[in-house]
């Protein structure tokens, strides 16, 4: 029987090398794979390029990874947070790079990487400073800019239910970027709240088919960023 299960978050992420490009699922605190991120902090890989919509909250999860100086560059749409000073301080000190990508373009570039589409055209950013230096082109009399796919070496993803084949189901708006990142990374590593047997997930409701997943680790009681922040926690 095919079984992609790993015994622990640390075992699942241990081969992420320095310099890797790592996608991290979640939108703000929702759908963020905190336990995998904390394992990556323990692991210590440096010089990472991280793709996430934001730059983390408080001093846990992604913000803690950035604060631990493991991230060379962030690719995101919204690097500000009312709850975290970690990224802003490093950025203003010139100690971390930023590639700002509009949210829809970020999502579509990630999907394109998973779908074998090296580039596409979008109206987003036309006529703005974010289109500067980008190729643009008219279709049917309207201007569009060309955007390239955005692949990654690894994706860290959180879901609600998984089976050993890597079929995944998410919970509400914690879905967000997670299914797209599964498609776009060479190695997709998933933490699931519940691991069930193959066949226990109705094939009609699978959101991420197992073909997009390489490793699954069960984290039965995942912590939530907002809870950690409310408790004043930091990591490590």
């Amino acid at each position: 029987m095919i079984n992609k299960q790993y015994s622990s978050v640390s075992a699942a992420i241990t081969d992420i090398p320095d310099g890797a490009t790592v996608m991290i699922g979640g939108f703000g605190a929702s759908g963020s794979p905190i336990e995998l991120i904390h394992a990556l902090i323990d692991h210590g890989a440096k010089d990472l390029t991280v793709i996430n919509n934001n730059t983390g909250n408080g001093e846990v999860g992604l913000a803690a990874l950035i604060g631990n100086r493991q991230v060379r560059k962030m690719i995101c749409s919204f690097p500000r947070s009312s709850q975290s000073k970690v990224f802003p301080e490093l950025y203003q000190a010139g100690k971390i790079e930023l590639e700002l990508v509009p949210q829809g373009t970020l999502a579509e570039r990630i999907r394109a990487a998973g779908a074998g589409i090296p580039a596409f055209y979008t109206p987003t950013t036309v006529g703005t400073v974010l289109a500067e230096g980008k190729e643009s082109r008219e279709f049917d009399g309207r201007e569009y800019v060309m955007e390239a796919w955005l692949p990654a070496d690894f994706a860290l993803v959180k879901c609600e239910i998984a089976d050993p084949l890597g079929n995944l189901v998410y919970n509400k708006t914690a879905r967000n970027f997670n299914p797209l990142m599964c498609m776009a990374a060479t190695t997709t590593i998933v933490q699931t709240k519940r691991l069930v047997a193959a066949g226990d997930i109705d094939p009609e409701v699978v959101i991420t088919p197992g073909i997009f997943v390489n490793r699954v680790v069960e984290v039965p009681k995942p912590v939530h960023e907002d809870t950690l922040i409310a408790a004043g926690r930091s990591y490590p």
Binding site: F27, L100, P102, Q103, I110, P123, I207
Partner: protein
């Protein structure tokens, strides 16, 4: 003494212009208030960029689901008939022209419909764009709700935006504390004044030519 419309009245006035059955995306701030003022007999379906149609009002604190938030990262609920989806599908709805109305706040809006609401362009500022550039390019009608001037009295309705644009020529209509203003081929045009507000006051607080109501 006349003070024009309150935040709530601006939102209520905007809600009047949204047809029954519209798919609506509301920006953070005053635009969020629109959902409280849906006219009798109408129903709107709310889209939130982070992956839901059928967003409902905030839950009581004890009923919060940590996995159910909106694009402003606030806890929300789902109404009957809601649907969840991933970010690429969510922005397909936006970019593909499926959302009827988006109501946004703004820093500046220009007489040609340009909008600037994501960055002051100040050196050292941390740029953050989120989904704003997708929304202004993709949604069928872009409405803006904003105070007519900044806190320090500077015009927000201007001839040309001095801040970096979010999108060019995209705004249809503006709801301020003083007036409802259309963006027309001839520039700004007042379509309605707040009670007790004169056209002269609006004209004086607008940074460029503005046409009176008919």
């Amino acid at each position: 003494m006349s003070t024009g419309w309150t935040r709530e009245q601006m939102a209520a006035r905007a809600a009047q212009d949204i047809p029954n059955g519209s798919y609506v995306n509301l920006g953070i701030g005053i635009p969020e208030l629109v959902a409280r003022f849906v006219p009798e007999g109408r129903e709107f379906i709310y889209h939130t960029e982070n992956g839901m149609l059928g967003m409902g009002p905030p839950p009581a604190e004890e009923e919060r689901d940590l996995d159910l938030m909106n694009a402003g990262k606030k806890y929300v609920t789902a109404v009957p008939g809601a649907a969840y989806f991933h970010h690429a599908d969510s922005f397909s709805m936006i970019r593909g022209g499926h959302i009827d109305v988006c109501v946004l706040g703004t820093m500046q809006v220009a007489a040609n419909g340009d909008i600037a609401n994501w960055s002051t362009g100040a050196p050292g500022a941390i740029p953050a764009v989120g989904g704003a550039m997708d929304l202004v390019q993709g949604v069928k009608k872009i409405y803006v709700i904003t105070q007519h001037t900044t806190k320090t009295g500077e015009a927000k309705l201007v001839e040309r935006c001095s801040y970096p644009l979010t999108g060019p020529g995209v705004v249809s209509r503006i709801y301020t504390d003083l007036a409802v203003v259309d963006v027309t081929a001839d520039g700004f045009k007042v379509v309605e004044l707040a009670p007790g507000i004169s056209f002269a006051e609006v004209e004086q607080k607008t940074g460029t030519k503005i046409l009176p109501p008919e």
